[in-house]
Symmetry: C2
Subunit: 444 residues, 2 copies
């Protein structure tokens, strides 16, 4: 942690680095396959049994011996005795001798003695006529598993046979540690018989908004009150980032209430996010409630954590920020400013990477993708010197351009709902002319 003097501004990068060097990936647990969707694998998975586990047919047809169908044609078909069906999932297969065929279904094991499969469309299907387009259902015509079949074409050895191990072989590496489990990876794990898998769980993120002025949406607004939007926005954003989010209704500006609320939530929190109460006012309850904690002698309760440090960052919006840990498990806590745009931008810059680090993601996967785009605007953007400014924008991928949406005010939530990107104006830049290329964070 850089030893910033009280009045010194932290850079965005210093604050982020402090967070990412402190927050550790969650301990792995064994989860059912579908519960592990979206999680990071924490084992190298080896294939226990080759896929396919046995030679099997890739077609519905007849399992035959190559010599028996050599030279067969529609005019001079090979006539074979059908000795029964080989269906998928059937444990015992009849042996195919000279002059014999077994009717076989896609995926069924190639029976002993057979060397190739001829598709049913290359045969008379046992009906004694021309080529057929399919088999009669066994339930409707069980006798079709026996009798004679006329084969109209020859087949090379192994034709329409999927060889054992042609997909993966026992002992191969199926998936490596660090892989994110999407549907295709879950498909592979199921296919090799894994019912459970070792992953890092989704982080449980508790979002607490603070402010005596906050009213739950849907209720009536009194004098001097506004609706609580941060707890909803950040709970939704936490889920989008991959977390399980718990929204805690707005807490009034009372330090003791806030402390006990957070202490109550510790049991289900891998990360705590608060909004509001972090600035320089006389009622900044988060700062008041959490500044004093972190006593190394305490062994339980909120105060047993590492403590929370409140900082000023060289950024706009989002200057006041708190970061640290609380409670006996040193649960990380990020205290964001209360303005809706400030808290949302702060979430994107600091909380999202923290959540994704807890998930076990690394490198680029921790961060939103960034790109460069040409500023498309009637007038120059202005930005305070010495602050990294994050403006809301609408990204036009086709044109490689970005249009600013709304102004720089940190209370402009309507514009935020029209934006899908953040325009980054570096600390040293105070004005950006239209047509200039700028850094853009894509909010996805």
């Amino acid at each position: 942690m850089p030893s910033a003097s009280p009045g010194q501004l932290w850079s965005v990068d210093e604050h982020l680095e402090d967070i990412l060097s402190t927050v550790q990936p969650l301990d792995p647990i064994e989860l059912q396959l579908l519960d592990a969707q979206g999680c990071v694998l924490v084992e190298d998975v080896t294939v226990p049994v080759s896929l396919p586990p046995f030679d099997n047919s890739s077609m519905d047809g007849y399992a035959v011996r190559v010599a028996d169908v050599a030279g067969a044609s529609e005019e001079y078909p090979a006539v074979l005795t059908v000795i029964g069906d080989v269906a998928a999932g059937q444990a015992e297969q009849p042996a195919v001798g000279p002059g014999q065929a077994a009717r076989i279904m896609t995926g069924a094991p190639v029976p002993p003695g057979a060397e190739a499969v001829v598709p049913v469309e290359w045969t008379d299907g046992g009906l004694g006529g021309g080529p057929v387009s399919g088999m009669r259902a066994h339930s409707a015509a069980p006798e079709a598993a026996f009798g004679e079949v006329r084969v109209h074409r020859p087949a090379a050895a192994r034709a329409h046979v999927r060889a054992q191990g042609s997909d993966v072989r026992a002992g191969d590496r199926a998936l490596s540690t660090g892989t994110v489990l999407g549907p295709p990876q879950i498909a592979l794990l199921a296919a090799i018989g894994r019912g459970t898998v070792r992953v890092r769980p989704r982080p449980r993120v508790v979002v607490v908004s603070t402010g005596s002025e906050l009213v739950q949406p849907g209720e009536a607004l009194g004098q001097g009150q506004i609706y609580d939007s941060n707890s909803f926005a950040l709970a939704a954003a936490a889920r989008d980032a991959g977390a399980l989010a718990y929204r805690v209704g707005a807490v009034s500006d009372d330090a003791e209430t806030l402390r006990s609320t957070i202490e109550d939530q510790l049991i289900r929190a891998d990360l705590i996010v608060t909004t509001g109460g972090v600035s320089v006012g006389a009622y900044d309850v988060v700062k008041e409630a959490l500044s004093g904690i972190g006593d190394p002698d305490e062994e339980s309760g909120l105060g047993a954590g590492g403590g929370v440090e409140f900082r000023k960052l060289a950024m706009q919006p989002g200057k006041p920020q708190g970061f640290g840990s609380v409670g006996p498990d040193h649960t990380p806590l990020l205290a964001l400013p209360g303005n809706p745009v400030s808290s949302y931008v702060s979430f994107e810059l600091f909380v999202r990477p923290a959540i994704r680090t807890l998930m076990g993601l690394a490198g680029d996967a921790v961060h939103r993708p960034t790109t460069r785009a040409v500023l498309r605007s009637d007038k120059a953007l202005t930005s305070p010197a010495g602050r990294r400014q994050f403006l809301r924008g609408a990204y036009d991928a086709g044109a490689g351009a970005i249009d600013p949406v709304g102004g720089s005010g940190s209370h402009l939530i309507a514009a935020l709902a029209q934006a899908d990107a953040l325009i980054v104006v570096p600390e040293a830049v105070t004005s950006v002319e239209p047509g200039t290329e700028v850094d853009v964070v894509l909010l996805g």
Copy 2:
């Protein structure tokens, strides 16, 4: 529906068009805000109350009259009488008369009489010394809400005041019908006081795999058996597409069992997806169980649906497909082939667009994004004439290139887990040379 003759192949586009012209968006319901995340809005939302609802302070500081601080400097400060605090959420505010100031917090209403806010950093904070960096907490120093304050700088009228309605005005359109509700949209809805919102719900998708050879992952594999991977893969893929997925364990190849299983699931299904049993074999249970249904005289049970049509598509993998509706509510049903790669590709091409149509998405949002990329390969790709082939690939966005992964076999599930894109080889093309530009479906 094109009137294809029995042996005729349907094109991929004809089959998709049939699905998308049949499947209708789900009826809208009113949901709690966080339950509506990811859903499509089905109302034009108007702002009921301007944001901010009242003039409020953008800083922690002092609410003053402009004339009282005109010409103030650190050397010649304006000395004002502090008449109390204005905190956020406080219903009553003291009126600020000439020579007076109210200590005010960010977000608190500008009290009557005051014309501007001076930040606390421009004052002595009531301490009688130089400029301060913040206020003392009210709980620790309640007396600081009264006394005298020295203001070191003048303030223009409305300085640090956020005007009522400067974000959005009552009567403005906040969000339009058709908007997908992500975190910023949820933020706006909460901010304007909406506790619930009218959206199309997430579709409930029931996934049923069929096959007597299928064993649940984690159990022991017997002779001729393989693990069920499709129900896991497609349940995961359905969730990725935005659905609530219900996985039904593998059903054996018995038509009556399958019919009763599907009938049981109707109660919780907006869409049913089956895998396997759709080809030309004698044990193709899905085809057998569902071909005969769709009796217009039936009023209840599975048979009351519109019926399921089984087709051959001009594609590889995924040639045999079924589509139709079952049960009294004409619940749409897609019957996919059973090979893992076939079913996964079929899901991407047909089921995902159906799910997204049920969600109320339209246009590009229904489909995976596509792009063009240069084939990067040692040898040419081959593809059967008259079939649209979908090969698995790994997309390199930086190079604008695509590398084929694995072969064309529809059982190659290990390669699927390494792919993030599908390479599309058109019907008329039988060979694609390295360096050729190809269509690519990005699997995201």
